[in-house]
Structures are given as structure tokens and as C-alpha cells.
Symmetry: C2
Subunit: 288 residues, 2 copies
């Protein structure tokens, strides 16, 4: 039974720290797929993307919102994509930013990790509701086989993310208070690699805070959004890594999955090219 | 074109401030329903509950987590329940506590309000990601026909909700900072009733803070969870109302929907009885 943190470490050592985000938008799909019903089109395209990017990364992050937008059939597509990704050997992070209390949080967690629903390896979680709201997620992650992980929102990549996250609480920004809690939760699920099972979402678009949080959370996996289409560069994400190039995965969604116009016949080559380039850039960033 | 706030006011004036929460748990369903596949069972039971409680309330709140737990078929059930509730004249609040940034937030919002997906009247939203994360939800709510509303988490009902929400930021608890923003957002969508389209979730389990927030947010609709099974009493929620008994809806989920053991043949009567009692209690609380 391998710890979640060790599965992450294996993935990053093998294929580098690129995480490919699956944010499928029907209108951006290659022309061939747009002939089909939306749910089937999105599912088929994502399954194709998984094959194309497989040599260049071992972590993928389906974004629940874009599947939800297609209603129940969208969730069928999401299930198919998550299950297939797992079969192909990816570590899967379901980006759904769930957060609720008590039995409701337990229901979200069971959906995320149970074999019959999403069966994801990790789930993104919003911390605003506090400790007893995060605990049901943690309990479900640790009791699953194999054990799963969480990524808690600490400092998000959007321009206005500081409205509450950067408020000074007793002289310290709120995101540091959240980081303290993540450190505590994480300490209960350390793997052999020295890292734990409660990661932190920290945006690439705030490099100074990324460095500060890396120092404050030495045993925590980082999921770093904001690289690529959102403006973060390889230099910006460098501070997110631990020595040895581990400790972080860096997400690219549109930059890798949609580097083409919808009518471009060379879309497959362009996805492969974008994934190869991102892998190389981020391996370089991880190596310092 | 009636404003969201006015539709809420009509609902509460007509049938009182009870909001029935639909948190369907397969294992708690009456024996008859447990013979069927889970998605169908949950859907059929919820549709029955809508009919049973119709005389006693005009606001219902499906909890997305319990539908998600059943996978794609669960979301088919959720869609059916939301659509039917609307047809029966309920104001529907989809309790999904969504929160994300930019085009991802826009995708969640479109899913919540578009006729072809959930078509809910309102959505619960988590504010941790900041202003530019709430704006896509607001924009979608205001551009829909009829206009929709949001309920932003301000002070949640769970025991540990204060971990971040009650942190002092420049001498003021974080939940008051969130309340200030809600006031600003809400001011842009006032109806003839004087209230607006950005409501606040404020738990019944913190009566002092409920009173404080009522005074601080005089034009804001409150969604008050924590009454009934979570321990909040009619006396506890009194401070949530404005003079005239408007300004708040009080949610009861298990207390109204599951007031019976699974094998009780009198479950329909018990739901009707629980809804009637909650309506009367909460009308009394609203009347001061």
C-alpha cells in the first residue's frame, strides 16, 4: 500500500512536474469532435488527449466545472476520463474545489474517492469552512485503498485572490494561517519521500508568496496553477520546488490542450509539441 | 421581469420562511423506494417530498453532494428534482458551494442557471477566492431570465467554522469583511422589496453573530442553516429576520425530510407533520 505522497513522487521523478489540466470547452474542440453530441465529443477528445500527453506527464487534473456545464452527460464523460486516466497510470487530481460540513463533506469525499463514482487520486478542497469541514475529506482520503490526497486552496492564482487571502490576521496574511493548518493536517500522512497527503494550491502568478510558502511548508506537495495561459512563466514557478525537483506539480490547461484553432488539421501534433515543451521547461525549472 | 429578491419576498410572504433542504440518503429512504436503483429511488422520493411539503414552504434547497454521491445518475435525479420544483412554483436554491476563478467560475455559473442544465433560482457560493471569483457568478445571475441570486458563505453553522471565519483582521472578524463585500455586491441588484440578489449564509448555531450580521446587512437575504437536526431553535433564528418577518429563509433538511425510520409505513404523514410544525414555528419566529 503506497502512500499518496509517494505515488506523486514517483510520477514526478519519472515524467517531470507537468500536470495537464483538462478543461474541455466544446466550442474549442477540433472540428471532427464537434459533429457529435457534446458529452460524447468532450469525452472522446479528452481520452485522445490522455494518450497524446502520456509520454510527457504523469499527473492530470480534470476541471469539474467544464464537465458540469454539460449536465448529467458531462459527468458521465468526467467519470470515463478519470477512470481511463487511472488505467493509463496517471495520478488524477479532481479539481472541484469542494467544501462543506459534516455528513455533506463526507458525501463529497466519498464521491471523489469511491471506486464506483469518480475514483480520483486527489481532490481540491476549499478551507473557508474550517477544520471540522476538512476532516471528513481527510478521513475518506486516508481510509481509501490506495490512500488518496487533498490539495487545499491556500493562495489562488487570480488577480483578486488577495481580497480575503491576503488580509492581515494578527499581523499575518490569512493564507499563512491556512498554511499553518495544512502543515498540521499534512503531518498525519507522510510517505517515505518525506512529503504528505495534504497538498496546497499556490498560484504561479505570485512568485514571492510561492517562495515564502515553500519555505513555510517544507513537507507539503504544491499544486501550482497559473503557468502558461494565465501568465506564469517557468522562472515564476521555480520557487515552488524542493531541492531535487520534487515537491510541486505545475498545471497547464489551455496551453497544452488547446494550442490550436478549432479547424487546424494539425491539432494532434500541436498538443504533443506543447506537452513536450512544457515538460522540458518545467523539468528545467524543477532542476533550479 | 421580477427581481430575484422580490420572488423570494413573495415566497416568504405567502408560505413563511421555511426552506426545505433535500439531502437524500439512499439508506434512509422509505422501504418502498429502496427496491429501486439508487438514482431512480432518490429522484422519485424527492419528487414525492416536493408534493408533500408544497403547502408549507415555497423555497427548497437541493444539496448537490448527496446527488453527486450517486454519480452521473445522481445528477440526472438532481436535474429532474430542480426542474420539477420550479414547475411547482418553488424558488430553488442549489446548495453546491461553488467557487473558482475566471472562465471556470463562469462555467459553474452557467451550469447553475442555464435552462438546459440545472436552471436553479439561486446558488450557494464560497468567497475564499475573492471578488473576481464571485463576479462571474453575479454576472450570470443578473443576465439570466428571470434574474437569479447568490448566497455567499459568510458564517457557517459548523462548530469549527470560526477557524478562519472568526480570525481578527485589522480588529474585525473575517466574516465581517466578507459581509462588507456581500453588502457591496448586493447593492447592485435591489428589488422593489428593498432587498437584493446577493444573499448571505449565516448559521442558526451562532445567534449572537446572526443578530450582529442582521444589523450589518440590512438589505441582504439570509439563508440560515443549522435549525432543527443541527441544534438551532426557533428562538435562535429570530434575530435573522427583518421587521415584518421577511429577509430570511431558514433551512431544515433531515428534520423535515427524514422524521421517520426507514420501515415506518406512516412516513408521508410524518413528513407533512414535520413540515407543518416547522412552518408554524418559523412563522412565529419571523413575527418576532
Amino acid at each position: 500500500m503506497s502512500a499518496f505522497a509517494d505515488r506523486m513522487a514517483d510520477a514526478v521523478r519519472r515524467d517531470g512536474p507537468l500536470c495537464v489540466g483538462l478543461d474541455p470547452r466544446f466550442d474549442m474542440l477540433p472540428a471532427y469532435y464537434r459533429k457529435f453530441a457534446r458529452g460524447f465529443a468532450v469525452e472522446s477528445f479528452c481520452l485522445k488527449v490522455l494518450e497524446l500527453v502520456r509520454p510527457f506527464c504523469s499527473v492530470v487534473k480534470p476541471q469539474a466545472a467544464f464537465f458540469e456545464l454539460l449536465g448529467p452527460e458531462g459527468f458521465s464523460a468526467m467519470q470515463s476520463v478519470l477512470w481511463r486516466a487511472r488505467e493509463l497510470g496517471f495520478v488524477t487530481i479532481l479539481d472541484a474545489k469542494r467544501g462543506d460540513i459534516a455528513s455533506t463533506a463526507a458525501a463529497y469525499a466519498e464521491a471523489a474517492f469511491s471506486e464506483s463514482v469518480w475514483n480520483a487520486d486527489a481532490l481540491t478542497v476549499n478551507p473557508y469552512l474550517g477544520q471540522d469541514a476538512v476532516e471528513p475529506f481527510l478521513k475518506a482520503a486516508r481510509s481509501a485503498t490506495p490512500a488518496r490526497g487533498l490539495f487545499v486552496l491556500v493562495r489562488t492564482s487570480n488577480r483578486g485572490g488577495g481580497l480575503f487571502q491576503n488580509r492581515l490576521c494578527d499581523g499575518v496574511p490569512l493564507y499563512r494561517r491556512v498554511a499553518d493548518e495544512v502543515n498540521d493536517w499534512n503531518a498525519g500522512g507522510l510517505g517515505e519521500c518525506g512529503l504528505g497527503d495534504v497538498g496546497a494550491v499556490v498560484g504561479a502568478t505570485h512568485p514571492k508568496e510561492l517562495a515564502e510558502l515553500r519555505a513555510a511548508m517544507p513537507g507539503v506537495w504544491f499544486l501550482v496553477p497559473g503557468y502558461g495561459a494565465q501568465g506564469g512563466t517557468a522562472a515564476d514557478v521555480r520557487a515552488g520546488f524542493l531541492p531535487g525537483g520534487t515537491g510541486a506539480v505545475v498545471n497547464s490547461s489551455r496551453g497544452v490542450v488547446f494550442p490550436f484553432e478549432p479547424d487546424d488539421p494539425d491539432w494532434e501534433k500541436k498538443i504533443v509539441g506543447a506537452a513536450r515543451k512544457a515538460q522540458a521547461e518545467l523539468r528545467g525549472a524543477g532542476a533550479g
